[in-house]
Symmetry: C2
Subunit: 245 residues, 2 copies
DNA sequence: ATTTGTGAATCGGTTCACAGCG
DNA sequence: CGCTGTGAACCGATTCACAAAT
């Protein structure tokens, strides 16, 4: 009911907690955003929760609930205006501004991330590559110079970096994170296979490749185990329960 | 109370649902495993739920609940035997066998994953690198040959690959996944920035770098917004509420 | 004395189902 | 009439708190 006006009022209101958006919703907004951008590229101007759900690989109730946390941006009987939703989600995600990132640890992964197109695309700008290895320092990845990690404080401040991407070895990661935090970095994305400790005002997310594989391994193994049991003929009694007419 | 004996009985039992381990627990087991391995390397033989919790960056109640799904492997008043826990978690995760992986799409990321030490470490063996680019086909990454993706069916079967790692562009990913599934791959780890559709018997996990950054951006932005409001002096009334004596 | 293992309470998130609105 | 927005019901996961075990 109270669309634009309430939105503005809320922004200027003295109510701090405002509309607290659930973490799970925050994690899905980028997914919706990507689907919506693809839609505009294909010329779609309006989309229903059902349509967006299909594109994003979730269900429509979730889409509606999620979007309702941002405000009432849909039109009943019609759907959502794609362009307008893109704007609202972008704003909510803080993508209307650029974020400067530094990558620490320029091994294979750091190198890959350094020239990963798709970072740049949505306002993430790699402003420094840092490493401790004198052999690497002074060389280039793409057109980005690898600089001495020892200079991290100066570099982070000078270039207003707020996001640190850690792609060091596991053992170097905590030290790297500590220095990044000391330099004023407010968010860290950790690819190193270790649990990082950061002050609570610093946001931390992690991506662990080998853990992902181990999770797949679990389900794979469970499938195999179940099949083994079934083939072994042990389940005849309870299996008959699942027999369909 | 019923430790080893019940464990064995359960394994051979006709009860299918057995001990269904919650997804959230499965996702943490690799974390515990890594901490435990580090502990043996440092010579620790016994650990309490509290100790493991600290190492893995979770709380001790969670550790106890999680481990209780695997069985009663701890000793009250003492803790868990590190070596034994490693064995049990490894077995549960299916890490007592090797898993063969193929990587599809040998760009920067595919290349980085191809020579990522840490895959190999825990029983994941990269058995093929596949791409469609004739310029890449026939060249090597480390000592692994890049082969024609068109051969995926033959290669997956011959080398008994069960995990496919997709590092193609977003637009090529679904096609790659379809071919992988058709070839008999049972698990897919997707790095491409797109939502993949796979049959429900295929396990799917995804890692999306730009989504992770966007999530960080949200929290970063929210911090900045809050600070702005506070500095703007708008919160004096409610802020006084939080003043401490 | 100490630490596990686990019911019970709680929390956050998802899904349902429908009233409200264009 | 169709689709959004949202209370209510539900479900899975987390946390609490303590009895059981050694």
């Amino acid at each position: 009911m109270p669309t634009i006006d309430e939105r503005i009022l809320l922004r200027g209101d003295e109510n701090v907690k405002e509309r607290a958006i659930p973490e799970a919703t925050v994690a899905r907004l980028p997914l919706y955003l990507r689907s919506l951008v693809e839609m505009t590229e294909r010329g779609t101007t309006t989309v229903s929760s059902e349509g967006l759900a299909t594109a994003a690989g979730v269900n429509s109730a979730k889409v509606r609930k999620d979007l309702s946390y941002l405000g009432s941006y849909g039109t009943r009987g019609v759907g959502y205006d794609v362009e307008y939703l893109i704007y609202q989600i972008s704003r909510e995600l803080g993508l209307t501004q650029d974020w400067n990132c530094v990558i620490v640890g320029i091994g294979n992964l750091g190198r890959a991330l350094a020239n990963y197109r798709g970072f740049g695309s949505r306002g993430f700008r790699v402003v420094a590559l840092l490493d401790v290895d004198p052999v690497k320092i002074g060389t280039y990845v793409d057109d980005l110079l690898i600089e001495d990690f020892d200079e991290v404080e100066r570099i982070v401040k000078e270039r207003r970096a707020s996001i640190g991407i850690v792609t060091t070895t596991g053992s170097a990661a905590q030290g790297a994170a500590d220095r990044l935090v000391a330099s004023g970095v407010k968010s860290i994305l950790n690819f190193a296979p270790t649990v990082l400790q950061v002050p609570e005002e610093v946001s931390l997310r992690k991506v662990d490749l080998s853990i992902e594989l181990q999770i797949l391994s679990f389900y794979e193994q469970r499938k195999a185990a179940l099949e083994g049991v079934l083939r072994g003929g042990r389940l005849t009694a309870s299996a008959s329960k699942s027999t369909r007419p």
